[in-house]
Amino acid sequence: MSAANSLAALAKPRWWEAALWLLLLALPWLWPTHALLISEITIIALFAMSLDLILGYSGIVSLGHAAFFGMGAYTAALFAKHLHPDPLWGLLVALLVTAMLGAVCSLGVLRGSDLTRIMITLGVALILQELANKLDWLTGGADGLQGVIMGPVLGRFEFDLYGQTAAWYALVVCGLVFVLLRRLVHSPFGYSLQAIRDNRLRAQAIGIPVHARLVAVYTLSAALAGLAGGLQAQTTGFASLDVFGFDRSADVLLMLVIGGTGWLWGGLIGAVVFKTLHSVISAWTPQYWTFWLGLFLVLLMLVGRERLLRPWTWGRTS
């Protein structure tokens, strides 16, 4: 079997993946009372998938991925408010704007150590948050951007109060991105990213254009995060400063780690588990739930995150 054939065989969707996506798409209809929750989880799952692209597949530790999420959210909200209420156009604009931002920022993550990268990514998110806070004539400042009214999706499906349309809209976008990414990570491009992650020097030595690949994947990841942000702003009709928050960047990292990095389903599973954990713990102790979240993180890291999904290894010592 040639290399191209074996790659193509891996890229082929499995039957259970298709079945699972059909089930997911049916969820807002099966469970209409929780449509809002479904769209929320779908959006953060998309956000987590976008982070996985740079963290899990390319090995770039980012503490400020919320920068792109927030940029997408504000772009989509502003576009709908001032230019055109059509959601799809809004998403496209959010995608393009965050892709440009990502391309610029990618220059900062090419060089230096992990610490430098963490600082740069964190810095971008902080700067954007500060800007959104200070440019209050445009963004509404600390009060958030209100009064965003969305038109119907594709000119036909109005956003309803129970969030069913929103849930389907988010699920379809997320599903399309999933299919695209599934194809991408099993392409030669995807494998070259993993080679860069595992050993940058060696990847360079066998002729992979490391910088160009990293710029490309960072831009793509930023664009997808922007897409998630745009979806969030459109389905909630609101954008506020917390879209840029450090908490959001940290949460999405945690989700990815729970679900498993370097695996597309990881973002989805992580988002579901995280949201469930969140709602259970914060129902029990609303003010101090971050303590339990922190404890969970510490224990998880001490045990080793790669073992979370392999319970049969818990008893062994590392």
Binding site: D114, I127, L253, L254, V298
Partner: protein, 287 residues
Amino acid sequence: MLTLLFDGVAYGMLLFILAIGLAVTLGLMNFINLAHGAFAMAGGYTTVLLMQHAGLPFLVCVPLAFVVTALLGALMEATLYRRMYNKPHLDQVLFSIGLTFMAVASVDYFVGSTQQLIQLPEFLKGRTEWLDGALGMGHYRLAIIGVCAVLAVVLQLLLVRTRFGAQLRASVDNQRVAAGMGIHVNKIFLSTFAVGSGLAGLGGALGAEVLGLDPIFPLKYMIYFLIVVAVGGTSTLTGPLLAALLLGIADVAGKYYVPKLGAFIVYALMMAILLWRPQGLFARDSR
């Protein structure tokens, strides 16, 4: 103008003491410790609680804050941090974020989320003006500069002149060779981590009046400590010191002259420096 410079220097000196422990942890263990601010907060709260409940004077509480956080640091190093040294940076980051979240929530639970105030002794409260008021110096800030400068000199001497300092530098440069030469790298790690945490606690105690003290302190100042380390590099003491002074002056001056931009200037400055020199301003070219 001069007053601003003075305040900036005081602020920078404080940041230096707060962040130097982080620089050492990073340089020595290659460990990205985002929970460093939690040790500073521990020092601050030790002082506040001792003053409020035990009625001890401020000058007694500050050294106690150093001792308590140093012990806490040693305990944490031996039980938790040591296991994380060989893990990837992502794990270290998540681990220390977890610790920070726990610290924030615990303080919120036990002490409450309100801003804590420190009652300074009378002789530190005044203010001296020189040059017809062009240079106004708060006595407390003057004391901070004095204490921090002495500490910086002591640390430098400790690092350059003593046997311990030589062992520490050897371990930072090359851990394996140092261990091979018979240096107990683990003990060096433990004591350095303890001293670094203690200094953070001391900084937190001294800085409670200037920086404010509430449960989200570790998250609020995390970025500042990281800036000092990322810009200053980890191979010398002077690097973080200069970076801290630069940051302090830029922050104070920026907030005074262009309050509309807030912390924007500091972040932009940091990004520019890191894009220009990704290893930090004062780092040696290669390790």
